[in-house]
């Protein structure tokens, strides 16, 4: 096969994309089809995130130290009909939410990660654990023998809660975006980016807290006073852990230690949502399939129509969803990059421009390794 496009050097492309961002465009090419895909998929994503968020918070608040949380996905509503639905697997795949939570917990970073290692956190959780297992000497004994076991569970619960709260905000942004689009206020990809950016900025300082109620007593695991905030302590680590790093999929990457396919340095991980190849979606060992499966139930009609025009129709809908999803995630990334920039991107001040460019170059060097160029080149043709 002879490639028809001339391969351009990477620094050149970086400059090109810096110029794009400075001129107010997004990472993703602006086209009517992209707009439909992005808004439609974010609508569905918003619905799914809402469910995820509710469940994560439910688990964090009520199932935290349960050894056998049989009904952790039931959100407290246990009845025969719901049980039957769950047995038939006619439900949201909350496993994916937990997967994201675990990835975020594992990669760490941000204020939550730092806080769960502090003595204050230990003291708070220890109090909770002793109260919770007051009448269970066996567990108290285990707690003594394995002193980090239950605290580690509580650290994880903290992440359940933090991610739940983060997704609460994101879900609302995406649903509002869709409503706004339906009203005809969103006309292009940059509009989408701006909308998301506004949403992020509006909630940037929103505090993230975690309180557990036991009997009549409340245990403040993350008090408001610690100052953990939405954007910097959950948003940024989330983007880093889920969009960029991720965890290697068993279905495509070998865990064999002697094959050395997975780097030692977590910073070199590139298995995140922006990098993942959509083609294996639906196959074995590809966790995001769960998300795509969840989203297929909430797609707006216009998007389903679009998907049906494809050769496979609804047969490969999960891959199509994933492709759209990846596009939408580039928009969210654009918003995040813009929001975190040291200065407004359209600044005319030269020193500010210089600082911005340095900042953008850092991001773009990573982003351009992702599927972005492929996605954009496909829309061109």
């Amino acid at each position: 096969m002879v490639s028809t496009s001339v391969k351009r050097s990477k620094p050149f492309i970086v400059d090109e994309y810096i110029a794009r961002l400075e001129s107010g465009s997004a990472l993703l090419d602006d086209s009517p089809q992209n707009l439909v895909e992005v808004v439609g998929i974010l609508k569905s994503y918003g619905v799914v995130l809402d469910a995820y968020s509710v469940n994560l918070c439910y688990i964090a608040n009520t199932q935290h130290l349960k050894l056998f949380p049989f009904f952790k996905y039931f959100n407290g509503e246990v009845n025969p009909k719901k049980i039957a639905q769950f047995i038939w697997h006619d439900r949201i795949n909350y496993e994916y939410a937990e997967y994201c939570m675990k990835a975020m917990f594992w990669h760490g970073g941000g204020g939550v990660d730092a806080y769960v290692d502090t003595p204050e956190f230990s003291a708070a959780t220890d109090k909770l654990i002793r109260a919770y297992f007051k009448y269970n000497p066996l567990m108290l004994l285990l707690h003594k023998a394995f002193p980090d076991f239950l605290p580690e569970q509580m650290r994880q619960m903290t992440y359940y809660s933090a991610l739940g709260q983060f997704w609460r905000v994101m879900s609302d942004i995406f649903i509002n975006l869709s409503d706004s689009y339906d009203r005809g206020e969103i006309k292009s990809i940059p509009d989408v980016v701006q909308f998301i950016l506004d949403g992020l900025v509006a909630d940037a300082a929103r505090p993230i807290t975690y309180k557990v109620k036991l009997g009549n007593k409340e245990y403040d695991i993350i008090p408001k006073s610690v100052g953990i905030t939405f954007l910097m302590d959950t948003g940024v680590p989330y983007v880093e852990a889920i969009f960029f790093r991720g965890t290697p999929f068993r279905g495509t990457v070998s865990y064999n230690a002697q094959a050395y396919e997975i780097p030692y340095d977590l910073g070199m991980f590139n298995y995140g949502a922006l990098y993942a190849d959509p083609l294996p979606i639906g196959g074995a060992g590809i966790p995001p399939t769960l998300l795509m499966q969840d989203m297929r139930h909430f797609l707006p009609d216009y998007l389903i129509q679009l998907y049906r025009q494809n050769v496979r129709g609804e047969g490969d809908i999960r891959i199509q969803i994933c492709e759209s999803f990846q596009k939408s995630m580039f928009c969210v990334t654009t918003a995040a990059v813009k929001g975190l920039a040291p200065h407004p991107l359209d600044t005319q001040d030269e020193s500010q421009q210089l600082a911005n460019r340095k900042y953008l170059k850092g991001w773009l060097n990573r982003i351009l390794e992702s599927q972005l160029l492929k996605v954009n080149s496909e829309t061109e043709t």
């Binding site: 496993e95 076991f149 068993r250 279905g251 230690a257 002697q258």
Partner: protein, 631 residues
Amino acid sequence: MTDFLLENFWVIPLYSLIGAVITLPWSLGIIRQTGPRPAAYINILMTVVGFVHGSIIFNLIWTRPAEQFVYHWLQVADLDLTLSFELSPVSFGALELVTGISLLVQLYALGYMEKDWSLARFFALMGFFEATLAGLALSDSLLLSYCLLEALTLSTYLLVGFWYAQPLVVTAARDAFLTKRVGDIALLMAIVALSSYGEGLNFSELETWVTGHQLDPTVAALLGLALIAGPISSCAQFPLNLWLDEAMEGPNPAGIMRNSIVVSAGAYVLIKLEPVTTLSPISADALIIVGVITAIGTSLMAIAQIDIKRALSHSTSAYLGLVFIAVGLRQVDIAFLLLFCHAIAKALLFMSAGSVILVTNNQNISEMGGLWSRMPATAMSFVVGAAGLIGVAPLGMFWTYQRWFSGSWDVDWWLLLLVMFVNTFSAINLTRLFRVIFLGEPQVKTRRAPESPWLMAVPMVSLMVVTLITTLAPIQWPLWLSPNIPLPLDQSELINQYATPLLIVSGALGCAIASTMSVRKAWARSSNFTVRFFQDLLAYDFYIEKLYEVTVIAAVSSLSKFTSWIDRYVVDGAVNLVSLATIFSSSALKYNVSGQSQFYLATILIGVGLLLWSMLNGQWSVVTNYWSSIM
């Protein structure tokens, strides 16, 4: 009710097979709107049914002598192929082990694989896997066992190939199938031969045939060697051991089954075949030699592995090597005990390893550390599993060794030395693993490690309890199976007196060495060239794979290229020439190229018509003249 269950004992393997078939709507993608978990629940339910059914029968027949049930499968010409099943405490003990571990593994898999959308396919394969293993446990016919071993080969291929899009899985699945297939074909050769010589292919018939016949020694030796080839490949013995290493690319729950039950299934067939395989001293010696080489070689390989699953899987080969030796010495009871204790302890170790892998997203032990206090179930499982495997703590393997060397069996010093060697290296390996995984400071990948969810913790804890309980098995085992009767215990020899303390010392020595040796951390390598050389030599399995590449694989591929070339240029050309086709077809091609194929077709049609006409008229001479004119 119990009679009914007893009469229909043969359905037990079918339960899980039915479960596997029921998963088809999900695994074929017919049901797409909802998820695949019902398939998993159905399979677990089927396994429970099988387990309960088996338990009831096990209880009933516990004191009864073995019974055979023969099913006439196919009678054709002078051949009568029968499939027979055995109803005995041993076969049902094996069945209970299969269904029991399978049940725990499937529960475990529900947790381990929770974010894999191909869950239905996985459980279908597990059901198929379990069905073949359960069938093997009950089978009393070499033919049936062969069929099931083949089915096992297929299900191993499919399970290893479960993550089919991952490049290393592709080669691993292929190699697993082909390696096992090599052994299976040899076994099939032996079966064809045995069936031609003997009276029947049931194990009991084989036994009477062997005792009643005087076989030519060469034939007996060849037969014995071909028969052990099957178990060599399925038990991952040298030189067909590498597939097990590669098979670790597959999902861990399947790996648990593979390292505990599947390898044991091959050895189980070997044990059943013992009367035939040890008929010739050559094949009996071959068993012992293979066992010794594997036990030593894989013990060494295991301690150099940095992959948690591979470090454990090489040790599997080592223990199966001991089983081979026991069978070669015709000490079948010991072989059974070794298998049993190893299967349970190894399953537990693999469960623990899977939990570590899932939590840390990592299999490289040099990147681990400090998990002890955060993962109690996982850590305890590892400790108990290791204790069950090393002959130092008073658990299963210790009592097995103790019985082996207590004076009941004819043992020799070399055997004791070998067992001590395996024990020491096993102790080194497991202690080393324990240190780097659970002790020390957490590294970046083990910094955040909450204990696995209950679906994985419950099977681990249950199996831990089972491991502790089954310590009784070697102590209580009645010793009734071996063809040579245990020796009378009148006067214990020197070896019997010193064996137990020596074994304890060997295990303790291993633990001590591993506690003091330096361990590799975070991809770091020793700067000493000799150390690196031996590390690599062992880590890459003595480069056996490379050896295969330059020998067998190279031979087959160059032979195929050669024949293909011959076919293309020599045979095709020559035959074309001889059969006049060259003259004809070259002109035919010319016609075709010039686009006159229509004309040409007409010519041929007329030609064939003329041919027929001339023949009908008996004008043979016309035909011969026609052809000779072309000539």
